[in-house]
């Protein structure tokens, strides 16, 4: 698989993880510093299934991905039970702790290579598999957000107390968001393991979790097309601007502040790139133009 395909695969893998994080942060308003941990779980479990168990080739990889996603989801249930009842900041710190804890534990498990890493994993990830899974995940995310459950999530993000009074089971909604985001991160991890063919706990440290979050923010909280655009941009731009590698994070940090203070809707502006979304933009523009024309006519009428 050559260079360009490699970049495309990386975009795809990150996109799947970021979609999950978008559901959790963008739509449900929970900020996680530890999704690298879920990716790690997905990666390692999938690696165990695809290399340690001697399964026949065609079903080994899908099974591995499934195992990765399920194990990440399961652990997220456990973590969620402990932390989702806590206030926002506590949840953040707890997820930070979780991500680091996963890394430390993996460092010490020799069965999966520990800190020195696990090499020679089979190369199962192909461009087509990644593309296919991306499409599936986007569709799933889209359906989730536009369903009743999705609206519940947004309600929880906007005003938790009011949502609760309106009958939304806040805890359950948050849990759903967490589980889905963890499962997606797990899938991404599984794909990563069988693409790089090497696993090492540092690949999923806090820097990775932060990278994923930055991608969500750039794209705009609450917009799926934004998430897609943000991920493509942030994975491919560093390739183009290799000379400025030292300043990449400086720029990202500043950009995050500017985006949050100035334009939290991110690049896409909270607008979805769908036919109805585009129609909405044009409708709004037409309405504004009409209003301006009317105002102008009124002024001239008065003057005249």
């Amino acid at each position: 698989m050559d260079y360009i395909q490699g970049i495309a695969v990386l975009i795809g893998i990150n996109l799947i993880a970021v979609l999950g994080l978008s559901i959790l942060t963008g739509f449900t308003g929970l900020f996680s510093f530890g999704h690298g941990g879920f990716m790690a779980i997905g990666a390692y479990v999938s690696a165990i299934v695809s290399s340690r168990l001697d399964l026949p080739h065609p079903i080994a990889f899908p099974l591995a991905i499934l195992a990765g996603a399920l194990s990440a989801a399961l652990i997220s249930v456990f973590i969620g039970k402990l932390t989702l009842n806590l206030k926002g900041d506590y949840f953040c710190i707890a997820t930070m702790g979780f991500g680091e804890a996963v890394r430390i534990i993996l460092n010490n498990v020799n069965y999966v290579g520990g800190a020195r890493g696990w090499a020679n994993l089979p190369q199962f990830t192909t461009w087509w598999i990644v593309l296919g899974l991306c499409i599936v995940c986007v569709v799933v995310t889209w359906n989730l957000i536009n369903s009743r459950q999705g609206r519940n999530l947004v309600a929880v993000r906007e005003e938790e107390l009011a949502a609760q009074m309106a009958g939304v089971d806040v805890f359950r909604s948050k849990m759903v968001a967490l589980i889905v985001s963890a499962a997606l991160a797990g899938i991404a991890g599984a794909l990563m393991a069988n693409y790089i063919q090497f696993l090492r706990p540092t690949m999923f440290n806090m820097a990775k979790s932060t990278d994923l979050t930055i991608m969500v923010i750039f794209g705009g909280l609450g917009s799926i097309s934004g998430t897609i655009a943000g991920t493509i941009l942030l994975v491919s731009l560093p390739e183009v601007f290799r000379n400025f590698a030292q300043w990449r994070l400086v720029i990202y940090g500043l950009a995050v502040i500017v985006i949050m203070v100035g334009r939290p809707q991110g690049i896409m502006g909270g607008v979805e790139l769908t036919p109805s979304g585009i129609r909405k933009i044009f409708a709004a523009r037409r309405a504004k133009a009409k209003l301006d024309a009317e105002l102008k006519a009124a002024e001239q009428g008065e003057v005249a």
């Binding site: 206030k87 900041d89 710190i93 430390i104 203070v261």
Partner: protein, 297 residues
Amino acid sequence: MDQFLQQLVNGLSIGSIYALMAVGYSLVYSIMNFSNFAHGSVIMLGAYFGFFALTSFGMPFTVAFFVAFFGSAAVAVLLERLAYKPLRDRRAPFLYFIITAMGASIFIDNSVIATIGPTPKTFPTDLLPAFLQGDPLEWGALSVGRIDIAIFVVAVISLALLILFIDFTKLGKAIQATAYNMKASALMGINPNFVIILVFAIGGGLAGIAGVLYGMKYQVFPQMSAITLKSFIAAVFGGLGSLQGALLGSLLLALIETFVSGYLSTQYRDLFAFLILIAMLVVRPSGIMGKVAEDKA
């Protein structure tokens, strides 16, 4: 027994540093009700301010110390004015604050890496005050570094002064009032903006001192903000919003960590810290001494 005493001393010395870091963080939390994740970067900048004041600008040590205090206070206030105030004015969801803080932290840390460079620097011993230059004090097999004593003393004095200020001065009471209910105290004539600036300045200043002391004890390097994760845990452990809690939580956390790595295993020391954190959050989220968290409606 010797080993036990030495580990005790080790723990207290790390704990004093955690305490200085945690208190600034806790102070901001009590007023603003959010975790300033950029606190770690302010600590790091404080260390650099002190270092450059001492070495490149050749200032005497005490002056450099105050440069660090005021420099970090200024950075903290600047951060508040430029990044947090706009969000507050717009009544942005609290999530935005955390993300912005994270962005600020990344920006500051990497700016230092890109300009000054990632290699650590040490405070040259000959530029330190005389009483810090000698060999460690030894009682039998117990060895206590001079800087450790200094850190402990500075931490206790700073915290005592802070608590006196908060509890007994008019300004301190104004801070307490604003922490309790910003709108009501504004109605009573307390300018919330002024209080917020004051709190950030004090928190930032303490962070700066913590940074310099940390830099003197170990090294000055841009990735220092990672260490402050421990102080966050300490603050939560002791009870977010309570200064005494921050102190107690820091000392306890450091002692537990030290004994775990000394008697059990160094590998799992950080893991223990996180487990304690999770356990605390589940059992008693307000921490050992914290106030009961109100609902954030």
